[in-house]
Chain length 377, copies 2
């Protein structure tokens, strides 16, 4: 949690701008987060949000956007009225919208490469400040897998960890159930009003008094198949480590494990018999170097030293001292970058070199193009 001097709180107007930017089409977390100095977030991006207000509406979409030239649909800035409606509806449901960098945004989640610019959370929000461990596994779990999940989730809960999982059938549900008394975090693939699977609405009601439901998706968003792997990066991103209890080959839990590794999180796997297909994934993880665990103490022994460590932000990208971050790029610089673009793909690094610009400015200009704020001339 950002409780220190760095944490900020957006004004209502800033939050509205931020929401409009995030909900605009063709703008992913990476595009947006590329504009923010790591670990500071929304507070440092007045530039783009202000641009939305400064520019006359007619200016948008007047020129063919980069996306359109490349064959994609034209970007649309999310309407102010829709953003206002979303904020109101969230308030009615007891859902808080927290921007990256704000107090209350989970500190570890903020450090992942594609941290969600805005999260929608409800429940007992202090649970987001607990050290967390993810416990995940197959939906089609065995009785033994359910029992092991219970043992690990309860043990971690008693050791002071919030248990993070995906509210799915099988292992996920068992993990939440065994830890709901002391705080568990359910990460959703859809909106806060679109619980999946629907029959776990009751479980979520039991989770919220001490725990949290968290999603990056807007209200009303029905989770699609591809939202689940995307969601999994939040499960691992929130946690110090991920425990995979049972997982077949090519299962979603293995995606979570891979994401966890990419995020520098610990990966724990519960071994099983080579004759048990539900252990294929976990055994394979162990062969690849995941920490094998047979009891909670194995996990705590690895995580305790990490918990004590101060969170270290990634190396910030070097910036020129004479070009503060939220200042517009010079007009000729923007023109140079735009002139280098064509429908053929090009690396940001190449643009930086050819335009004699900085990565930050290049990415800002690209985002402006995506949003239709700048035309390709």
């Amino acid at each position: 949690m950002n409780e220190g001097a760095k944490a900020i709180r957006l004004t209502d107007e800033q939050r509205l701008d931020w929401l409009r930017l995030i909900r605009s089409q063709n703008v992913g977390p990476r595009s947006i987060m590329a504009q923010t100095p790591h670990n500071t977030g929304a507070a440092h991006v007045p530039h783009l949000a202000q641009s939305l207000r400064r520019r006359p509406r007619g200016a948008r979409g007047a020129a063919p956007s980069l996306a359109r030239r490349g064959g994609a649909s034209a970007p649309q800035i999310f309407p102010r009225e829709a953003a206002e409606r979303e904020i109101e509806a969230a308030q009615d449901l007891g859902v808080a919208l927290i921007a990256v960098g704000e107090a209350g945004y989970p500190e570890r989640l903020q450090m992942i490469d594609d941290a969600p610019p805005l999260i929608a959370v409800r429940g007992h929000l202090p649970a987001l400040a607990m050290p967390a461990v993810a416990v995940v596994g197959s939906r089609n779990a065995s009785a033994a897998g359910m029992k092991l999940t219970q043992i690990f989730a309860r043990g971690l809960s008693e050791a002071g960890f919030a248990v993070v999982s995906g509210l799915a059938r099988g292992i996920d549900a068992a993990a939440h159930r065994a830890s709901l008394a002391k705080g568990t975090i359910a990460v959703l693939a859809g909106g806060q009003d679109r619980i999946y699977p629907p029959e776990h609405g009751d479980l979520l009601d039991e989770i919220l008094p001490a725990g949290v439901a968290l999603t990056e998706m807007p209200l009303g968003w029905e989770p699609r198949a591809r939202d689940f792997p995307r969601r999994n990066r939040l499960i691992s991103g929130l946690a110090l480590g991920v425990v995979i209890v049972e997982a077949a080959k090519r299962s979603g839990s293995l995606i979570t494990a891979r994401l966890a590794l990419e995020q520098g999180r610990e990966v724990f796997a519960v071994p099983g018999s080579p004759l048990d297909p539900r252990a294929e994934g976990t055994n394979s993880l162990i062969k690849q170097g995941a920490t094998p665990v047979t009891e909670t103490a194995d996990i705590v022994a690895v995580l305790e030293p990490i918990m004590g460590m101060a969170l270290t932000a990634r190396e910030p990208e070097p910036t020129n001292g004479d070009r503060p971050y939220d200042v517009d790029p010079a007009a000729d610089e923007r023109a140079r970058i735009v002139a280098l673009l064509s429908p053929a793909p090009v690396q940001v690094d190449d643009l930086v070199r050819l335009a004699k610009s900085s990565p930050r400015v290049v990415r800002l200009v690209l985002l402006e193009l995506e949003l239709g704020l700048v035309s390709l001339v």
Copy 2:
């Protein structure tokens, strides 16, 4: 196998001397092997064996031996007649006695610290020259454990490895059965005529056409409980690596794993559910760094590069060029060493330093004392 220029073959008389030395009480493999340059064996110890013949019988036991002064029973040189009877009985049973360093003595076994000075083998002796993998596990095996053993042992057999095991009930027997067509090595804790468990006599009959029964114990030796851990060092010593299929906590298989590690052998363990007590030992090994295996290919992948490597003898102990190995220590040197001894334990290193002698000479004098060939004055 010692097929090269280094391998020797003892004369009948040398073999008899060697057997008498080995069968003498209070003389362990380490005492004897300490006298042999590593990787050469019996051929280089004429000194002691000849001493037995040179000295008049009355000289033995005339003075209180070191062992006797320390409270242990007096050492006895094994009678020539008994040695002759043992060699004859072995021949009748088709058992060959092979001394360390001789052609036919398994090369890897020769490299362990406490290699047996003499092994008794029968069956298809070329099987001892195959690259070998040990497959061991609990006697009280589960059906799944038996099936896994069959999969691994058959796979290793088909990959060209001799499977080494202990002829015990459970995993051991399954390992031998699955590999007896192409060659398996049963290492016994007792004599060649004292098969344990007795009901595995039939299994041994099936093993011998393509495989080998091996022991360091004399004919007629009934295996005692403590002979099994001692035997286990031969199982791991014969092999490139040891596969532990199922093992409870504090089981004999874990002793084999520890010995294998000490011997620089690969340790493979088959994972199992944390809820299965028969997987406690193997999971614990994996946690400690053993290679987890779920299929034969996992084992072959690790062993193939090692198989290709030439066997490297351990660093030989430095010897003085002007004091060839099989020359008696100088009389005053022997006297200096003996004078330093008392019933209180003392380190060989300290004796070397205080007597201004060499480790090799100190150990030779100690062995002479144990055998009663030298008195404590």
